[in-house]
């Protein structure tokens, strides 16, 4: 019998939660959107996703092995999630070498330079994506047209995204009612049958993932609801003021990366605030900036920029917005 007893401070039991389990749940929640992207974009979606995940894992491994010289922790699942999210933000026909460069920026620059998991102020996948958008604007904005289980990759037929159609049309003096004919119907947009980044198109798949994350208590409702709610309200005000000049709120919610951003990118633990009130403010900030960029900015889409901008405010919010403490004031029943 082992006569030496272990002595440690309480608590002496631990719950079932672990970082690996959380990351596994996020990966599971991303799967419906991945299957939808394979359905719409075929082989290209698989090539881009596999490249992105593999290179993210590889760069994290290399940096930990040769620079940090500490135990390798790529099995914690965080690089896998970054890889998936980066791929989801890319067109399915983008050249492989650009994906590798983007992965390098995500992992090496946005994550590991700050010390790795838990220390990065900005969402790594979005830093990578925005770097690619600025460095390779042509490749990053040529969107393959959805074609059931396509086998083409670089030679895919491309077209504009709904957001780009609206932006271009309005710039050329056309009104929304004239543009409607060129846009997919809300039902088609809900199912994901439109041009766009490979993981962002299928609202239905993303919402299934959202439900899973809520059930598994990986995230709370605050950030996704604040993002989509503020976009809906802001867009509705504009639309009601002039329906010919501004798209309707439903269009804003279903087009582009709003749902992918609100559910999977803005809720990234490391780069989002800690208390519910801050989460609501942060989410509303993302929603408002997204609409500002979409309506008045030069880019048709602004979710990535909006999330990165609000990431910068997170430390400020964490330092100044506190939960209401128990016993802060006397309560007499």
């Amino acid at each position: 019998m082992n006569n030496i007893l272990t002595v440690s401070p309480s608590p002496h039991i631990h719950g079932k939660e672990s970082v690996q389990k959380i990351m596994r749940d996020v990966v599971i929640a991303l799967m419906p959107a991945f299957f939808a992207s394979v359905f719409y974009f075929g082989l290209g979606a698989i090539i881009v996703t596999v490249t992105s995940v593999a290179s993210c894992l590889l760069f994290e491994y290399l940096i930990q092995r040769f620079f940090f010289r500490k135990p390798i922790t790529i099995t914690d699942g965080s690089a896998l999630v970054t890889g998936l999210l980066l791929a989801f933000n890319l067109p399915s026909n983008i050249p492989v070498f650009i994906v590798v460069i983007g992965s390098f920026i995500s992992i090496a620059v946005a994550k590991m330079t700050f010390g790795g998991l838990g220390n990065n102020p900005f969402n790594p996948a979005l830093v990578g994506r925005v770097f690619m958008l600025i460095s390779f604007p042509v490749q990053m904005t040529s969107w393959p047209v959805p074609k059931g289980l396509a086998t083409g990759y670089a030679d895919a037929v491309t077209g504009a995204t709904p957001l780009a159609i609206v932006k271009e049309g309005l710039k050329n003096g056309e009104s929304i009612s004239q543009l409607v004919g060129n846009l997919p119907s809300p039902a088609r947009m809900f199912l994901g049958d439109m041009g766009g980044s490979l993981g962002e198109v299928a609202a239905v798949a993303l919402l299934i993932g959202f439900a899973y994350l809520l059930i598994r208590k990986v995230i709370t409702w605050h950030i996704p609801v604040a993002v989509t709610g503020s976009i809906a309200i802001f867009a509705a005000i504009l639309w009601l003021s002039n329906p010919e000049k501004f798209a309707d709120p439903m269009f804003h919610l279903l087009a582009g990366g709003v749902l992918l951003g609100a559910i999977f990118m803005a809720t990234d633990y490391v780069t989002s605030p800690m208390v519910p009130l801050s989460m609501l403010i942060y989410g509303c900030g993302i929603g408002i900036i997204t609409v500002l960029i979409r309506v008045w900015g030069s880019y048709p889409e602004g979710v990535s920029f909006a999330i990165l901008i609000m990431n910068a405010f997170v430390p400020l919010m964490n330092a100044n917005i506190k939960p209401k403490r128990f016993g802060e004031e006397m309560k007499n029943g």
Partner: protein, 441 residues
């Protein structure tokens, strides 16, 4: 169902001994009775080597108001008075007694008939509690006469009896409620009289349905006592959380329950008060749960204080082969002990034997800022921040973030997906912040 407003966790309950009746542990051959089994000044021994003592005889007298009496739990001869290692890991004076027979002091009424009528005055009841060495039996061992003495200018409006027993594994209060229900309620009536209140609320977690219905049934023949089921959520039995759940009153930071007109006593304390006031029996034995997944005879044992833990474990089938850790108290807030040869004391509610594979912590990872620690903190603090500030020795800032409000329930460490030792660091920061505050005064 009533509960506290936010935070809390639900660890596996593991109440293995809920159905096991209380078993009287035979009187051991010798006992070691520490003179400090309570918070406050240690008692002063009043016996010497060679003295003959009887069961229930005073052997150490309370030293001042923040102290209490200690009695012999056996009859026999004092063999020595020496320092001994107690359950908390500190050395302290103890009276060693070699047992001969079991000869009780004649002042103790050993009749089992329940005596509900109490004709003593407030002061007499409080005096009896001191005389009989009654302390809070929920674990903290705070002298009961101090709690029952309402400070000048304050008024107690309601007495709360804590029958929550929210720690996993422990069942001693549960069994006591089932087997000594009438005595407990008679004790509650005595406590109400001592505090001058007409209302007492007994809070019981909803996983003890038989205890709830049993006490509700008996409470019909008492006036002013009500029984309230509470949601099964840890730490429902924490004093401030229990008060909030039952009355809606929130004890402000840095204040005591009496500041909102409440006094809280534990179920086992109410029973001890009954025995002291109505039967003149000093506190020298208590029910201790001995449990663990690999313990062969887990149970609830009525044990004399001073009995070696080794005896108690033997009664429960011996220490299992797989033992990795032995916890004095529940697994959430109890203390791991390094030495099994320690005496049972008044504040010991249970012994949990954890197997080796549950004894070690998983390796800590970096904080991923998931904010789960904030959502489980029943005091609505930010454990990740308090731990980080303590780790960096920024104790002033930690005090500003109200680190001293932490009651060390362990919900944050229990939940942390990155296995961070949050509470370890918070304890360090809390004790340093309290020390700094004392020095400033």
């Amino acid at each position: 169902m009533k509960t506290f407003p936010s935070g809390g966790v639900h660890p596996p309950e593991n109440k293995l001994t809920a159905e096991v009746p209380i078993e009287v542990l035979p009187v051991p051959e010798k006992v070691v009775i520490p003179v400090s089994q309570h918070i406050g000044t240690p008692a002063v021994p009043v016996v010497e080597k060679g003295d003959k003592v009887r069961t229930g005889q005073l052997i150490a007298r309370g030293n001042g108001f923040m102290s209490t009496n200690i009695h012999s739990s056996v009859s026999g001869t004092v063999s020595k008075i020496e320092s001994v290692l107690d359950g908390t890991g500190f050395r302290q004076t103890a009276v060693f007694i070699d047992v001969a027979g079991d000869d009780w002091a004649e002042t103790i009424d050993r009749d089992q008939k329940v005596n509900r009528e109490c004709n003593l005055s407030k002061e007499e009841i409080v005096g009896k509690c001191y005389e009989c060495g009654i302390v809070g039996l929920g674990g903290a061992a705070f002298p009961s006469h101090v709690k029952l003495t309402v400070p000048e200018g304050k008024k107690c409006e309601v007495l709360i009896i804590n029958g929550v027993e929210c720690e996993p594994y422990l069942t001693s209060d549960h069994r006591l409620m089932l087997e000594k229900g009438e005595e407990i309620l008679a004790g509650v009536s005595v406590l109400m009289k001592a505090l001058g209140v007409t209302k007492a609320m007994i809070g019981i977690e909803n996983n003890k349905l038989n205890a709830i219905s049993h006490l509700t049934e008996i409470s019909r023949s008492f006036t002013g006592i009500t029984v309230h089921p509470l949601k099964v959520k840890y730490p429902q039995g924490a004093e401030k959380q229990l008060i909030r759940a039952l009355t809606g009153r929130e004890v402000p930071s840095g204040h005591l329950p009496i500041d909102v007109g409440v006094v809280v006593q534990n179920i086992a304390t109410a029973f001890a008060v009954y025995e002291a006031v109505q039967k003149n029996k000093p506190l020298f034995e208590r029910v201790v749960t001995v449990t663990g997944k690999d313990v062969t005879r887990p149970g609830n044992y009525l044990v004399r204080t001073g009995t070696s833990l080794l005896k108690l474990i033997d009664a429960a089938g011996g220490r299992p082969e797989s033992t990795g850790k032995v916890v004095n108290g529940g697994p959430m807030m109890g203390k791991a002990i390094s030495n099994m040869d320690i005496p049972v004391v008044k504040g010991m509610s249970g012994i949990v034997v954890l197997p080796e594979n549950e004894s070690l912590r998983n390796a800590a990872m970096p904080c991923i800022r998931c904010s789960k620690c904030i959502s489980v903190c029943p005091m609505n603090l930010e454990p990740y921040l308090l731990a980080a500030l303590s780790e960096k020795s920024m104790f002033d800032k930690a005090a500003g973030e109200r680190i001293t409000d932490c009651m060390e329930c362990g919900s944050c460490s229990f939940t942390c997906p990155a296995n961070r030792p949050l509470l370890d660091y918070i304890r360090l920061g809390k004790s340093t912040a309290m020390k700094m505050a004392r020095e400033k005064k």
